[in-house]
């Protein structure tokens, strides 16, 4: 018996208040023990355009935004036109009946719920966003929930404006009562539970997780979809004693961050692909200095400016290859928003212990989406391991301090600048154990090789400190679904559905991208008859990485690069296609609501652009 769930879609133009309506709804659900997952599909405009926020609610924590909206809140005519046709039987469409009317007949058994907003919220004439409040009140009623929690949410949201609280509570109440009198409630009502949920985005959780892991310095240049991390830090800087700077560009961002780390504090920075490109040169410097640094790349659809408000997993090649030369780095891709919370602590510990740059590879889906996280998951004290860090100098050491001492582990104890008897210069040039440059010495192949080997040796033990791949489902399943990073939740649900349909699958999710747990992956793949790799990009960047590192060639590939994230239905259907003999399935979000009729008509026919397949990657013999 599956837990009842509701998927609400709020559609409107930027500036219509879709996000705040969504927040109100999510908060009122979370406070009743109902979990939420939300994802906003929007355009890069400040006013206008179309914004499509999907919110999935259930007592069983949803791990993705689901397949199909069944409650539509249309805040403008465009949203009503786009999305009414997508509603399933039993679906509900709420809209301001005084302003908008459906342009076509609704699908069968869809309830049209026009709200007489001017009567229910007289203020809406002056303040159009009051229509959102009325609709939220009505939606809560139709989901079978009480009104009180919603009223309390307005009190929190508008804590400093009692008059606004009153008006919103009245409007919501009127919407709630109107729905009770005039509309049919949903067939599957939601039930409150005792679980305490915190509602937050991946960006929030990366920031808070880093702060709790001892991050004392944060620098960034605003770039979607990573900007909110900077805003979180800025708004908490004073209280938490964190130095937070917005600076001129990402070159400076990473330079400052490495500088702060070099002095002994934990420093972090975040950006998206374009900013990460600017950071590249300095990442190699951090590796050469053996100065830890944690860098977050929140991927968005590329290349170049790409589609700034859309999600993709296509920066793997960039982070793998960032900066010239051979050097040691770690790349970790958090697998859920809750995982965003713990990843900075892992990243900082590994960066400190091995004195290397660590990249957290997240994406727009994780970072701008939000989900409810059980409060007990967040209420933890991270054990902080700073590695071999020398922070005090007692007396005179017996032998001269060598910052880059050639040790068996390759890790050289790191003194923070400012200590007597530990003077050293760090060079981006190749240097000897004492830091003195080799580059200006007449070719010294022996010492050059020694230093390269010393740095590389650090990697020999690092895998044990990094999260191993997670296998879910039976080890002897016929088909293994392999994903990385943010696709964990959607693949997990697809695997559960496939299993329920009698398809023998398991699910392996990769979080540590570099270095790769090749042996662990091979052990799983050897047991299954078919490997399918699922990733949110066009060229199969992970599939290539896996092949390069392990020789493993997947039998099938499911890819999506249309800007929208995977939904469970996409994966279920594509897995069946691959079992049926296809090699590569390119998935496309085809709901009519996504369609934009180009005003110039130059984009050609849209019809027929459905799930397309193409041959390409060789299969395993």
């Amino acid at each position: 018996m599956s837990e009842p769930e509701v998927i609400v879609g709020i559609g409107g133009a930027a500036g219509d208040g879709t996000a705040s309506a969504g927040n109100t709804l999510v908060l009122s659900m979370a406070r009743q023990g109902i979990a939420a997952y939300s994802y906003n599909s929007y355009q890069s405009v400040i006013r206008g355009g179309h914004s499509w926020l999907r919110l999935r609610f259930s007592a069983k924590k949803p791990l993705n935004h689901g397949d199909q909206v069944n409650v539509l809140i249309a805040l403008n005519q465009d949203s009503l036109d786009r999305h009414l046709q997508e509603l399933p039987p039993g679906g509900v469409c709420l809209y301001n009946g005084a302003k908008f009317q459906p342009s076509y007949d609704p699908p069968a058994r869809v309830q049209l719920c026009g709200l007489p907003v001017p009567d229910l919220a007289p203020d809406s004439v002056r303040l159009p966003v009051m229509q959102n409040t009325v609709a939220v009140g009505a939606a809560v009623q139709m989901m079978g929930l009480g009104f009180e929690t919603l009223a309390a949410v307005f009190e929190t949201t508008f804590a400093k404006k009692p008059a606004v609280v009153q008006k919103n509570v009245e409007a919501a109440r009127n919407g709630y009562d109107y729905a009770a009198k005039n509309f049919q409630p949903l067939a599957t009502p939601l039930h409150p539970t005792d679980q305490k949920w915190a509602q937050s985005s991946g960006n929030d959780l990366l920031a808070m997780g880093a702060a709790l892991a001892g991050c004392k310095f944060y620098a960034a240049y605003p770039m979607s979809p990573a900007t909110h991390i900077l805003e979180w830090f800025a708004s908490h800087a004073k209280r938490l004693g964190i130095c937070v700077r917005q600076v001129e560009d990402e070159i400076s961002v990473v330079g400052m961050c490495i500088g702060a780390n070099h002095m002994g504090v934990r420093g972090m920075c975040a950006t998206s692909g374009g900013g990460f490109a600017l950071m590249s040169e300095a990442i190699g410097m951090a590796a050469m200095y053996e100065t830890p640094v944690v860098i977050i790349n929140v991927m968005r659809a590329g290349p170049s400016t790409g589609v700034p408000t859309k999600t993709e997993q296509a920066d793997l090649n960039q982070v793998f290859g960032a900066s010239q030369g051979d050097f040691e780095r770690v790349v970790i891709a958090p697998v859920s928003m809750g995982d965003c919370f713990v990843t900075p602590a892992v990243a900082f510990d590994v960066a400190d212990k091995y004195q290397i740059p660590v990249v957290i590879l997240a994406d727009l889906l994780l970072c701008e989406g939000s989900e409810t996280v059980a409060t007990e998951v967040l209420d933890v004290e991270f054990p902080i391991d700073r590695g071999e860090l020398i922070t005090t100098a007692d007396g005179s050491p017996d032998e001269p301090y060598l910052r880059y001492k050639d040790t068996p582990s390759g890790i050289s104890p790191r003194a923070i600048p400012g200590l007597p008897e530990h003077l050293y210069v760090s060079g981006s040039d190749e240097h000897d154990e004492d830091g003195v440059l080799l580059s200006d010495v007449f070719t010294d192949p022996i010492r050059r090789k020694k230093m390269v080997d010393k740095r590389h040796r650090k990697m020999s033990t690092i895998l044990r400190d990094l999260p191993a791949p997670m296998l879910e489902g039976p080890a002897d399943a016929e088909t293994t679904l392999l994903g990385w990073g943010s696709t964990w939740g959607v693949i997990k649900e697809a695997a559960e559905r496939l299993t329920a349909e009698g398809v023998s699958v398991n699910h392996l999710q990769i979080k540590t991208m570099i270095p790769l747990h090749g042996d662990e992956i091979a052990a799983v793949v050897e047991q299954s008859q078919r490997l399918i790799i699922i990733e949110n990009n066009q060229s199969g960047q992970f599939a290539r990485h896996l092949r390069a590192e392990t020789g493993i060639v997947a039998h099938g590939h499911i890819r999506k690069y249309d800007g929208e994230p995977f939904e469970p239905k996409h994966i279920v259907s594509a897995v069946n296609d691959i079992i049926g003999g296809q090699e590569v399935v390119d998935v496309l979000s085809t709901e009519p609501g996504f369609r934009t009729d180009h005003p110039t008509g130059t984009s050609g026919s849209w019809e027929g652009l459905n799930q397309v397949t193409r041959p390409g990657v060789p299969t395993k013999a």
Partner: protein, 295 residues
């Protein structure tokens, strides 16, 4: 951390590594003056961090006994800013060349002045790219012939003094590498200035710049200290900044009489102890408050 109360001498800053600049290079004078200024100010070597970019002059941190970093081309100021914000008790000196600071790193230079981080920035300005063996620089004179401007530099000459004044730099000075005593005084004043200090130093490249030679400067320079120059006047400083041929002023152009406090004294996280010595743990009560923000 309390420094041992030992008297610091010039020899304390001299490392075992000898500089590898060309014989006659202006950078020797810049380094010698730095030894003297640091000794006179009684800066303990372990409280000093010298940070450079890339280029001949940027090899300097390797030739002084202190903490140091030899960063990337043009990127010393972001790194130095991060260092100062992490530990404002350290004396941070940036050293680089004209190509490094006024070419590839120009944005950081302007932003660092605007930001007013307490870093003393010494630019060894030789009006040429030396380490890459003689190409045109942003401070090369118009018309100057180099390997990459064989028919004469077609572009204008960047004026770092005027630029620094316009960018809000509170301490703007220029020296000449063969006038070491004068340079020592400029360094000391720059290091003691609370905020960003620019000291541009004419440091002739004897190998690749046949125009801006020692002789060239000797014929043209004069000291502002010998004139009735008001170092507290922005406008007087700007007038002097715009002087070039036939007479070129050196000395202290401008010291803001009412300087803005440096960034490292304004950031709320840096009041009290340096960041690096602060407790980085967050107590469970605060953690609970952070969680409740999401509820």
């Amino acid at each position: 951390m309390t420094a041992p109360a030992t008297v610091v001498e010039v020899k304390d800053f001299k490392p075992e590594v000898h500089s590898d600049w060309c014989p006659g290079c202006g950078d020797f004078g810049v380094l010698t003056a730095l030894f003297q200024a640091c000794a006179q100010l009684q800066i303990q070597p372990h409280n000093l961090m010298v940070i450079s970019g890339i280029g001949c002059s940027s090899n300097l941190p390797g030739f002084i006994r202190s903490y140091g970093a030899h960063t990337l081309h043009g990127r010393l100021l972001p790194f130095a800013t991060g260092c100062k914000l992490a530990n404002q008790e350290m004396t941070i000196i940036g050293t680089g060349g004209d190509g490094d600071g006024y070419g590839i790193g120009l944005n950081h230079f302007i932003q660092a002045m605007r930001r007013n981080i307490d870093v003393t920035y010494i630019v060894m300005n030789n009006e040429i790219y030396g380490l890459t063996t003689g190409q045109v620089s942003p401070t090369s004179e118009t018309g100057m012939k180099t390997k990459t401007s064989p028919h004469g530099n077609l572009e204008g000459m960047l004026n770092p003094m005027a630029l620094a004044l316009a960018a809000g730099c509170g301490f703007v000075a220029r020296g000449f590498s063969s006038q070491i005593k004068h340079l020592v005084e400029l360094y000391k004043a720059g290091i003691e200035h609370k905020g960003f200090a620019l000291i541009d130093v004419f440091s002739p490249c004897v190998t690749f710049n046949k125009l801006n030679t020692y002789q060239y400067f000797k014929e043209r320079i004069y000291k502002l200290e010998d004139e009735d120059h008001d170092t507290g006047s922005f406008h007087a400083a700007m007038d002097k900044a715009l002087e070039w041929d036939p007479k070129i002023p050196i000395g202290l152009f401008y010291r803001n009489p009412d300087p803005r406090p440096p960034l490292d004294s304004l950031d709320p996280a840096l009041t009290g102890q340096p960041l690096v010595h602060q407790d980085y743990t967050i107590d469970s009560e605060t953690r609970g408050e952070l969680i409740r923000e999401f509820m």
